[in-house]
């Protein structure tokens, strides 16, 4: 008996010791990753962590590296493609060993950026040339740069929409609903597909923010106001989603949807519309080619809301590349980020918006230019506050849960009304803001 107690005690002690050893790294802070003056002088081997496992596997990344080596012959670039990028990098960031270049995971709080990443320069100097700098600015210094920009919008099958007799983009949510109804009655297509089961497609609806009010301060508005107040961007978006589902305009059984399966369906015209982003157009066009239909049928339209007679579309960054603050080859890492952002042609290859302010719009956004859609860059200086309120309130505007509940509500699988539901979200939001503000 006694012996057993001793044993249990020593196990507990050992376990506590072990837990004490797993402290956290990242003690050095405030390093800079300077751009090298002479490309041929830069030496070293760097590892790039990326979420684009597809590009690592099919050798595209290697081609980028070869191209990069023409300018920087002394740098050896290796890629580490991670399928569950967020999850794996989050854990690796508890050590000092998380690559030399990496995409900033969404989980990292902005105030911690200086502890994890080396600065790329001041906001003043970078902001003149690049988009999205304020998404990673802490105390006037920029810590990351997204290589592409995306614009949210509805991906639609042009053929189906014109079959239903709709040729112009709807300008109000009500008009949009009427068009979906026309699609339902005149074609065999599912008017709208929620991708409920795969969850993340529902989170895209948060990108509506800014499109309705056409306000570059929309994110600040989230941090300071009620996102679900009457007429607020998120409320307009959520109400539209609710009305689509409650009007029977979405797929029959949302609980068993399949993202990969939805792509060929949209390409073939079995699905008419999905709310995603400009990044999805390439994938849909690929799906169309594989399904043997015309990739030109894939259309892209902005959120049905206009201010002063013009649509607004918000530009937002993808994952932002950053330099590990513990890296031994910060110059080489910085060289890679600069080259990848400015010269690699990655944005063009993905038909995405270039992060360079003076670059022309990609082809898929040409219709936007023709119809005078206003592209606005949101001010993200309050982005960290929004995230903090979001986590504190457990509402999760960047998480699928609340929109899944919204869809359940709309199709009657959950009790309650829309106003009560959105009102409650607003209440939780306000409470969380108050508790953080104190």
């Amino acid at each position: 008996m006694n012996r057993r107690k001793v044993l249990a005690g020593s196990i507990a002690t050992l376990a506590l010791l072990a837990s004490a050893c797993t402290g956290t790294g990242g003690s050095s802070r405030g390093a800079d990753a300077e751009a090298p003056d002479d490309p041929s002088e830069v030496k070293g081997s760097i590892t790039v962590l990326t979420h684009r496992t597809d590009l690592v596997q099919d050798g595209t990344m290697k081609k980028y590296a070869a191209e990069f080596n023409k300018t920087y012959p002394g740098v050896k670039v290796e890629f580490d493609g991670l399928t569950d990028y967020e999850g794996e990098v989050k854990i690796r960031m508890n050590t000092e060993n998380y690559g030399d270049v990496l995409m900033i995971p969404a989980v990292i709080q902005k105030k911690d950026y200086p502890k994890f990443f080396a600065s790329l320069g001041t906001k003043a100097e970078r902001g003149a040339k690049y988009r999205f700098t304020d998404y990673s600015t802490v105390d006037g210094k920029v810590y990351g740069q997204s290589p592409v920009g995306v614009v949210p919008g509805f991906i639609y099958n042009k053929k189906v929409w014109s079959q239903a007799g709709v040729t112009d983009w709807p300008t109000t949510p009500a008009e949009f609903l009427d068009d979906l109804k026309a699609i339902k009655s005149k074609t065999d297509a599912v008017p709208y597909y929620t991708n409920f089961k795969d969850m993340w497609p529902l989170t895209q609806w948060t990108n509506v923010n800014g499109s309705v009010s056409c306000d570059t301060g929309a994110t600040t508005e989230l941090a300071e106001g009620d996102p679900w107040a009457e007429g607020a961007d998120l409320r307009v978006g959520d109400t539209l989603l609710h009305d689509i589902v409650s009007g029977g305009l979405a797929e029959k059984d949302p609980t068993t949807t399949n993202w990969e399966g939805s792509k060929p369906k949209l390409a073939k015209g079995e699905i008419a519309t999905m709310w995603l982003g400009s990044w999805a157009v390439v994938q849909m066009q690929d799906a169309a080619e594989q399904a043997g239909t015309d990739p030109a049928d894939i259309g892209f339209m902005p959120f049905p809301a206009q201010r002063e007679g013009a649509f607004c579309a918000v530009t937002s960054p993808d994952y932002q590349q950053a330099v590990n603050v513990n890296s031994d080859h910060k110059e080489a890492a910085r060289a890679w980020i600069d080259w990848f952002t400015d010269k690699s042609g990655y944005a063009a290859a993905n038909l995405a918006l270039s992060p360079l302010k003076d670059a022309p719009l990609p082809d898929i956004l040409q219709p936007y230019e023709e119809k005078g859609v206003k592209l606005i860059d949101l001010d993200d200086s309050k982005g960290a506050e929004v995230k903090a309120i979001d986590n504190q309130s457990e509402v999760g505007i960047y998480k699928p849960d609340y929109r899944q509940e919204l869809v359940d509500l709309a199709r009657g699988a959950r009790g309650g009304g829309l106003d009560d539901y959105l009102g409650d979200l607003g209440k939780r939001w306000a409470e969380a803001r108050n508790s953080l503000g104190s």
Partner: protein
């Protein structure tokens, strides 16, 4: 040759008397190594156990008293704040209603397993084949089961087509409403774990000596009587174990609902909720506290159960 050199090298050795040499305690080195041997064997498993079970648990306990977000290098000691928050937010415990579905399902599961184990313990045709069929699902990975059943319950999926073959044309969205979804998921869980209970019961039944059945048959006992008076008391400890396992299992369901619905449509269990707290909302501290609370609840339920149904030694003969 060697003998002589050794003797020469150790002149002291012969001084010890020859007789009691055997009875005297073994030389120190032998004694030490004899004591150490079992520990040496234990080093590997103990090291693994400590590293992968106890250290993480100790870590989790420590985190449950902090406000750690799971990645930040900064974490603050918050005392029992997380526990207070947990216990004052009753909505966090509402998810235990979902466990009710799995609890009911595990009753069904135990009854079915007992039935099949009893039937297959007698001489039945294709006995081994049926044993295999029943046990097979338990060998499949839980994630794979989730995906398979997602197709099974799909609109126009396997279940719908089988039903329409039988002439029952339904248009039911199986995962569409909380009741239907939870029932479907609990059904999957029964399908998966039936095999484990079945094998446990079968093993227990087969350890009952065969003479007992023969004697009973001579006395004219029917199959039901054999079950009632021989099998049931004979497998009581295993039955008790199964009940404990299913209750704690029902409280901590995770894999199947997480993969199939992700907790949507009212299928969220306590563990899914904990995972979401930790990895979606970055409240690792609160989530650790929730995990500790779940552990305590499971321990408490098990303890109550053991008090109500104490473990008795079975003596059939």
């Amino acid at each position: 040759m060697t003998d002589t050199t050794r003797k020469a090298a150790r002149p002291v050795a012969p001084a010890a008397p020859a007789g009691p040499k055997r009875a005297a305690p073994a030389p120190r080195r032998t004694r030490l190594s004899r004591r150490l041997t079992p520990w040496l064997f234990l080093v590997a498993p103990l090291a693994l156990l400590l590293t992968f079970t106890y250290a993480p648990i100790a870590n989790m306990l420590a985190y449950s008293f902090t406000d750690w977000d799971g990645v930040s290098p900064e974490l603050n000691w918050t005392g029992t704040e997380n526990y207070t928050e947990l216990l004052t937010r009753s909505e966090l415990f509402e998810v235990f209603f979902v466990s009710g579905y799995y609890l009911v399902a595990s009753v069904v599961q135990i009854v079915l397993a007992l039935y099949f184990a009893t039937v297959l313990s007698f001489n039945v045709r294709f006995r081994n084949f049926f044993k295999g069929v029943l046990f097979f699902p338990y060998l499949i990975n839980g994630v794979a089961i989730g995906f398979v059943f997602l197709y099974f319950f799909q609109d126009g999926g396997t279940l719908d087509s089988v039903l329409s073959l039988l002439g029952v044309g339904t248009d039911h969205a199986w995962l569409g409403t909380p009741f239907s979804a939870n029932t479907s998921l609990a059904g999957v869980s029964v399908w998966r774990y039936l095999g484990l209970n079945f094998v446990l019961f079968l093993g227990a039944i087969q350890s009952i000596p065969g003479e007992l059945y023969e004697a009973a048959e001579i006395d004219g006992a029917s199959r039901w009587h054999q079950f009632r008076y021989i099998i049931a008391p004979g497998i009581k400890p295993i039955l008790g174990l199964s009940v404990i396992l299913s209750v704690s299992g029902s409280l901590s369901v995770f894999e199947i609902p997480y993969i199939m619905t992700g907790g949507a449509t009212g299928t969220e269990t306590f563990v899914i909720q904990t995972v979401k707290l930790a990895f979606q909302f970055n409240k690792t501290g609160l989530a650790s506290a929730a995990a500790v609370v779940l552990l305590l609840i499971v321990l408490a339920v098990t303890w109550v159960q053991r008090r109500i149904v104490p473990d008795e030694k079975v003596d059939l003969v």
